[in-house]
């Protein structure tokens, strides 16, 4: 309906292969970026930024990470939480070891620790496939969780066994710790997420992303086209774990402020997995949808129900959320296995062919 594609023709491959070939989409993305960069920090209060926007972005990044592995490369992972934890603890150690380096650098570097471990735990994927692989990632999950508890070096031998985020600033702005403003934290998270999303998109639309999808769709054919499963799978594990690691570091440093090992339990893994499924496997925009949906649904229930005269105790909200999410997952799998992203795509397609029902 809003699409006016007449006259939008491409005279070069570069133009034809751009991420958003339709002008109206480019305008839409620009508007969204403008809202995220200007409107949200300006209009959003501390609660909105701290409790909704920041965790949403962080979890969206983790979902993208999982999507790279599961959605694009077709390797099921139940260890996302663990890899996020690796990122968080790595970042904590980096901050301890190099207190003067900029915190954003720490965050970005901490992803490499997760990536390295991702490669290690990705190795079995060369021999085993599908559900069997889930066990590998679960092994990683529980092993990491155990490490976070049993290796005191990781939490600097704190008596509490938790990691506390110290105050750190860049360019005179406090970014982490209790005194950091929500706006500053929001900007850091937003920028990291935008940059990493763009880079991942680049990977996906190029040779490497295509190899992942080849392995996912038909691994035998992929090998016969010259894809080396070792390279394709391990690169997916590495990239996925890197993203999860960075997300984990940001989760602690810009959202939680302090974390116990239980923050990175298998529950988190499942939460992110649900974000990926509901959002749509194999879709970056779906990762954002999924993260928004699963993160915001309970908040809506908690804040929305009293508005309609049905105040709910918080445990009831948790239970309801669990039921709703569970039921929704089943409903989605039945009606639209490709998740919100596919709904979005269908909606967009409808708008493009409006008023026709199909092209």
């Amino acid at each position: 309906m809003f699409y006016r594609e007449v006259g939008q023709f491409k005279t070069s491959y570069a133009a034809d292969q751009q991420v958003f070939p339709i002008r109206q989409d480019r305008i839409g993305v620009a508007v969204i970026l403008l809202v995220a960069l200007v409107v949200v920090p300006w209009a959003g209060n501390d609660f909105f930024l701290s409790a909704i926007a920041i965790p949403f972005l962080v979890l969206a990044l983790a979902t993208i990470g999982l999507n790279v592995l599961t959605g694009y490369a077709g390797q099921l992972s139940l260890g996302t939480g663990g890899f996020m934890g690796v990122g968080a603890y790595a970042c904590y150690k980096l901050v301890t070891l190099f207190p003067d380096a900029p915190i954003v650098l720490h965050v970005l570097l901490s992803g490499f620790a997760a990536a390295a471990l991702g490669i290690v735990f990705g190795l079995p994927s060369l021999r085993i496939k599908g559900l069997y692989l889930a066990v590998t990632t679960l092994a990683a999950q529980f092993f990491f969780e155990w490490c976070f508890i049993r290796v005191p070096w990781l939490y600097n031998y704190n008596a509490s066994g938790a990691i506390e985020v110290p105050g750190r600033s860049m360019f005179g702005v406090t970014l982490t710790g209790p005194s950091a403003s929500s706006t500053a934290r929001y900007y850091v998270v937003l920028l990291v997420v935008i940059v990493l999303t763009v880079l991942v998109k680049n990977l996906i639309r190029g040779r490497i992303g295509r190899q992942w999808m080849m392995i996912r769709d038909m691994d035998i054919a992929a090998e016969l086209m010259g894809v080396r499963p070792l390279h394709a799978k391990l690169s997916a594990f590495a990239v996925s774990s890197y993203l999860c690691g960075v997300a984990g570091a940001m989760f602690v440093f810009f959202y939680l402020g302090a974390a116990e090992p239980s923050a990175f339990s298998v529950t988190l893994s499942f939460q992110v997995l649900f974000m990926a499924i509901l959002g749509g496997l194999g879709s970056l925009v779906g990762s954002f949808f999924g993260a928004a949906f699963i993160w915001i649904l309970p908040i809506l229930l908690r804040w929305g129900m009293p508005l309609v005269g049905m105040p709910l105790p918080s445990e009831t909200v948790t239970q309801l959320t669990s039921m709703i999410v569970g039921a929704l997952i089943i409903v989605f799998l039945i009606l639209e296995p490709h998740g919100l992203a596919r709904l979005w795509q269908i909606g967009k397609e409808k708008l493009r062919v409006w008023p026709f029902p199909y092209a």
Partner: protein, 319 residues
Amino acid sequence: MDFLHDILLRPFMDMAAQPDFFIQVIWEGFVAGILYALIALGFVLIYKASGVFNFAQGIMVVFAGLTLVGLHEKGVPAWLALILTIGVMALLAVCIERFVMRKLVAQPDIILLMSTIGMTYFLVGLGEFVFGGEPKQMITSELGLPTGSTAVEFGERGLIIFQHIDIAAAVIAIVMVAALAVFFNRTRIGRALRAVADDHQAALSVGISLNQIWAIVWFAAGIVALTTGIMWGARSDVSFALEIVALKALPVLILGGFTSIPGAIVGGLIIGIGEKIGEIYWGPLVGGGIESWLAYMIALIFLLFRPQGLFGERIIERI
């Protein structure tokens, strides 16, 4: 060298030094293994008949236990609560078949798996919503299960303690496996179920609809879950923590194969005993608590050498 010594020799010296304790450890592992095996069993039932990797088996255990205890708490006599719980599991099976499985026929495995993860979440929410989230005491004695323990002397001054409930668990597990074996081999429905695993068409010719079969299988898995829930609940208590423990069915299945009932039992025992021994004798070396991941590592290492499982056949890929 000390380190190598600690890893390679010390544990075995410890075992030899205190054989009664060693046997005690094995017994503990054996009982845990039986419970793993029971969870895996429920899983195998469903996988065999419908190819669904039922992630929800763990939560079905919790849900069954919670329902039983919850009903009793609400004043229902134990025997009636047990019957009602069986009814609830039957209802659940019918619902799952009707509202989930039937709609997802012929979907890829991964979709089916994810639907069961969805079920897990739904049941977690429902269970907590109805019965509350806090751990509950299993109504062991009310159900007529033995409590207390027997100490057996071993050697000169050794003592091995057997909890009666553990013995009961082992016995019930064995009875259950036997019953299932009879069910599968001797009854018409059982044979149909086996046929389903091999060939859906063949099953139809027996005169049972696929939908009925799935409902029956889920119900059977529900009964197994209830049994598991009672046994497990009696040993610790009924709580959602069990859900995590139930994930250990995965390594068990990997060892035993997804379709083999004996495999599930052997796998369960290997994992149960293996992780207990590992925890007690090697755990302290790295700070303890390795029980949480050892099972997965065992399965993982095993997989690398035998991707098809203990009892599985080598798969020849065709193109």
